[in-house]
Symmetry: C2
Subunit: 655 residues, 2 copies
């Protein structure tokens, strides 16, 4: 009985602290946290192999708290254990006093888990629900690749498990035989506004898990021996390749009837209720720990000593070098290649010179051309097929990133939208994520607007306007206009530590650059230098602009053409060129507004100088067209439209 009593004692001790932390913060979710007191205790004080003074020790077991709002229970345990926390250059053991800084502006312990604020115990930020199991799966893939015999535990709320992404992750875990990932469903029966649906009850959840191929262990989540036994089963079966999930029946506000039942989600207890809750816990402690004797300590064992394999990194070949190396010399000689194919080539070349690079795809690898990575025998074990489940793909990539990998996740740009919430949380986590969307803009003409990325530049640009925890733009938005640019920017993305979104296109396009062109984050290229008007574009539309330039030239208009392949960009440089062009600016993009045009408007309106900007963008909902040209005509975005608009700005009637 001593283990039982010891776990009860510790769980109650942590619950006390949880109540005080939330009272101090004036916020938080103490009752959700208390439903996890015993599970947290068995995990963190007994089952997990880890090192509190080195929470990111590579071979340690990991804990992903998908229901992030329950985090006070983890903080309480970390405070009790003196887990090292703080920013990298200023780590120290956490104390109970530290725990009481919960949610304060100068505290390392945020309202929801966030490693980047100085709590490295966590691999990823959580809080927007349903993402954690995918992150755990990403960690599981990395652990297997690195040869670490470790377990990744993931705690999921019952209400949270309504999120479809949880079930995407479940399928993914079965597909990839990730039996080192152990989902633990915390079935405390109450969500925020009401009881959870019967669909999220422990019984139905267990049936769903079994249907999906898991062994489901349904237990009392406040029974120490049951928890320990279930975790042992998970380890044993897992070692045999059988995935096990634990479905725990728990009590929200366990130990303190005063805060049980409905109406207690996300509410700290104060005053008399807080006192009563403490008293109730004390009374339970007496009852449940009577068998406790001296020496009944819970003991944490470290993992086996093991170091992560050093990443092997060398220089990638040039674009033309790679084309020749991969039997594409004849294509090279055509002078044309789509940016999506150039990305696929670059990824393959990168895979060979950087052992950390992983490719992820969502059943469109033959469209994004990650298949050139996956079909390479030397790289296939770093190709992660995620099937048609983009949310899971992005969070898996975040997990891979946390384990030190460089994940490139690709699908159609349009379908990246499906995972915007996941991308934002990955950015908050500091993830080194590279997202590559193909079929960008209106190039998927024939398929119609359900396959076109239209507000994507605006969204990613918005992220790029904020600084991340390293002081860099929270996102770089990259739009290569030709194969050299796509190839070069793929390498730039791999070298950079942080989030990048690259937009590739479907059609083959002519080369604009050569191997000597250097592409930089924040850079742009002057393709044609003129003096009457500055045209700024990117990606596919640059080729339309180039055609427009010919017409303008015939009309005696000497236009400048800028390839703005990066957002953000060097504003001062653009300002100078705009001034050299009489302050006349035309922006051209194949997406809805708020993208490149707005970026230029933002850049030049700080100066107080007078500029005239015309923005050409997709101004109506597109429809299917059999050719890209038909689509551009429908949207008034052809080379002719561009030339006409440019000429109009200068008062020239016809071009």
């Amino acid at each position: 009985m001593s283990f039982e009593a010891a776990v009860h004692a510790k769980a109650i001790q942590l619950d006390h602290l949880v109540l005080d932390m939330c009272a101090e913060a004036g916020a938080g979710h103490p009752t959700s946290a208390m439903s996890l007191g015993h599970i947290t205790t068995v995990l963190m004080y007994h089952t997990m192999r880890w090192v509190p003074t080195h929470p990111r020790y590579p071979s340690s077991d990991r804990l992903v708290l998908s229901e992030g709002h329950a985090v006070p229970i983890i903080y309480a345990a970390c405070a009790d254990l003196g887990v090292y926390f703080g920013h990298e250059d200023d780590m120290r053991p956490m104390t109970v006093e530290d725990a009481k800084t919960l949610r304060a502006i100068d505290s390392h312990i945020d309202g929801h888990p966030n490693p980047m604020e100085g709590f490295p115990f966590f691999d990823a930020a959580t809080g927007s629900l349903g993402m954690g199991l995918s992150v755990a799966a990403g960690l599981g893939i990395a652990a297997r690749k690195d040869g670490f015999d470790k377990q990744i535990y993931c705690i999921i709320g019952d209400g949270e498990s309504r999120e479809g992404q949880i079930w995407e992750a479940v399928d993914f875990i079965v597909d990839h035989k990730l039996s080192n990932v152990v989902p633990i469903f915390n079935c405390n029966q109450y969500a925020q506004s009401d009881k959870v649906s019967n669909q999220q009850s422990s019984g139905v959840t267990a049936k769903k898990l079994e249907a999906a191929g898991f062994i489901a262990e349904v237990i009392d989540g406040h029974a120490p021996e049951a928890i320990r036994a279930a975790l042992e089963i998970a380890a044993q079966k897992g070692a045999n390749g059988e995935p096990v999930a634990i479905v725990a029946n728990t009590v929200k506000g366990w130990g303190s009837p005063v805060c049980q039942g409905g109406g207690w989600h996300g509410k700290p207890l104060t005053g008399e209720k807080l006192e009563l809750a403490h008293e109730e816990l004390d009374a339970l402690r007496v009852q449940l720990t009577s068998s406790l004797v001296a020496g009944d300590d819970l003991k944490i064992y470290p993992p086996s000593e093991s170091t992560a394999p050093e990443p092997a990194i060398s220089d990638a070949p040039s674009f033309t070098g790679a084309m020749k190396a991969y039997d594409m010399a004849s294509v090279l000689s055509t002078g044309k290649l789509s940016t999506r194919k150039a990305f696929g080539l670059a990824l393959r070349a990168l895979g060979h010179v950087n052992s950390s690079v992983f490719a992820l795809d969502a059943d469109v690898k033959n469209s994004t051309f990650t298949q050139w990575f996956g079909d390479d025998k030397d790289l296939e074990d770093r190709m992660v097929e995620c099937k048609i489940a983009e949310q899971n793909m992005i969070s898996v990539a975040a997990g891979l990133s946390s384990a030190g990998k460089v994940p490139f996740a690709a699908t159609f740009s349009k379908f990246v939208t499906r995972a915007y919430d996941q991308i934002e949380l990955a950015i908050n986590s500091g993830a080194n994520l590279k997202v590559v969307g193909s079929h960008s803009g209106v190039g998927a003409a024939s398929d119609g607007p359900s396959q076109m990325s239209l507000p994507d530049i605006a969204w990613f640009r918005s992220l790029s306007s904020a600084k991340d925890h390293r002081g860099n733009p929270a996102c770089y938005v990259l739009q290569p206009a030709d194969a050299f640019a796509a190839y070069g920017l793929t390498q730039v993305m791999a070298d950079y530590q942080g989030m990048c979104y690259m937009r590739t296109c479907r059609p083959d396009v002519e080369f604009l650059y050569d191997d000597s062109t250097v592409f930089n984050l924040g850079g742009f290229e002057v393709l044609t230098s003129g003096r009457d008007l500055m045209i700024v574009s990117a990606g596919y539309m640059l080729h339309e602009c180039n055609k427009a330039l010919e017409a303008l030239d015939k009309a005696g208009i000497d236009a400048t053409l800028i390839d703005m392949y990066s957002l953000p960009f060097d504003s001062d440089g653009i300002l100078d060129i705009a001034n050299d062009n009489g302050g006349m600016i035309l922006t051209v993009e194949d997406n809805y507004g708020g993208g490149l045009g707005s970026a230029v408007a933002d850049a030049v309106t700080g100066s107080g100088d007078g500029f005239t900007i015309e923005q050409m963008h997709v101004g109506r909902i597109p429809k299917s067209a059999r050719t890209v040209d038909d689509e551009l005509a429908y949207l008034n975005l052809t080379a002719k439209d561009i030339a006409k608009c440019a000429a109009g700005m200068l008062g020239v009637a016809a071009v």
Copy 2:
């Protein structure tokens, strides 16, 4: 055997046409379509009660094609049946020649289903996968409310069913006992780039459905009698409140071995292969229809005659009227109320005067205050609790809209992100969708960035830059600054036919307006009229600006303050005011860049006049803070920061 033979004959006839349509288009997914030949035939020529000349007849059964890329088979059937199509004022029977215009720029039949291009048979656009079953569920809810005894069939691809949203919809259907919705899983085993996972096999899919509470009928999807029998079971069991799903084993490219197996996704057949496919189908026809005799026609039965109940609409009370009517007079007298609560009040008042208004929430009704609608006994049957599954919620709302309802879907603004892809497709569908996000900006300070909406304004603004099919902005973005505005704008949203996004905030804020203020889409309000500088803000930040104005006033700066509660807005009006303020503009917002500030920059840079714009926005990833003021200070967005920036623009050192 005559039914069997007749279905085979028809399915083969449609398959022939599918092959030709895709060949003509040079694109499309003939093999996916052919896997649905028999199911489509039994549904559209036999089981469904509908009227081909009146595809939107209210009491008709409906068909939602979630795997939108398989649409040629539906077009083929509609061409054969002479289904009425075209835009509302120009409807006519579809012909086989019309079918061959597939994907052309001037065709009504897009590459993926889209009612707004002139194909009213469909209730909603599909094509981004996983959304259709939720749309069907919304139609199911509306049908039940309207007293229509109709079935809503939804065809889902096997690969598609990897999308978590499908399983959100499954749970939702069980929760809401929507046995009038019949999901049909098309298990043809091949996705785009590879075979589908075993997790999406018919066997595992059936098990998952059963675990979730469905009866799963696994059938041969090319056996006419089996299809008919399964649909009859679905109708019978459904009538008893038991949800039935059909899991059909099918063959991708059925009938034409030349295009079966891998590598045939999304590829039209041409030349010899096309000829061979036709020959193979012909041979099968001979084999399968030998028992066919004259008179073996498939017969379509119409639905029972029934009209939708006329919506009852009258005028809503004023804000103060509603406050008094709902026992909130004492709150009114405090002069403060949060915009989220004012929205809840408005929704409740609206519910009483507009019988079409529905409220949807994702387990945060006590945060968004849709609970004031749901807790009202007169309205509770129009409150749709969707639990923690935002994607499903938005697509359910799209379905409700298609049935003529006015759905208001609410959750935290941050969690709306989860459903951006669904929102965009709903807009493409012409849905009359109202999305209301609470806890907007950084007001959820204590919870940290996982609960804050930061790039949301940029994204919705991008949508607002394009015209929808009615010629209106594809989205209006609304940010009420006080309770009067939130109340008024909620009514404006209900009156408008189209997509709106309203952003409410958590904290109580002082009233700025009164019952006499009229709020308009596209409007703004001049809160203070000055001449030195124009400050433009919205929502919560307007109150910080108001405080800043006091400090500026003391420093002798006479600033204008604009409440830009709508995007897009009246550009000319703003331009005039900016000119009256010396061209000096300061924008202030509680989100990342690309929002209000960029909107103003876009508006004033068309003129060529010189303006100086400083944009204050969230410039770094936020963290938890115990108070909103702490958060704003962390982000340099306090009233003091605003005053300092404004003064700096005018060369005034200290304020």
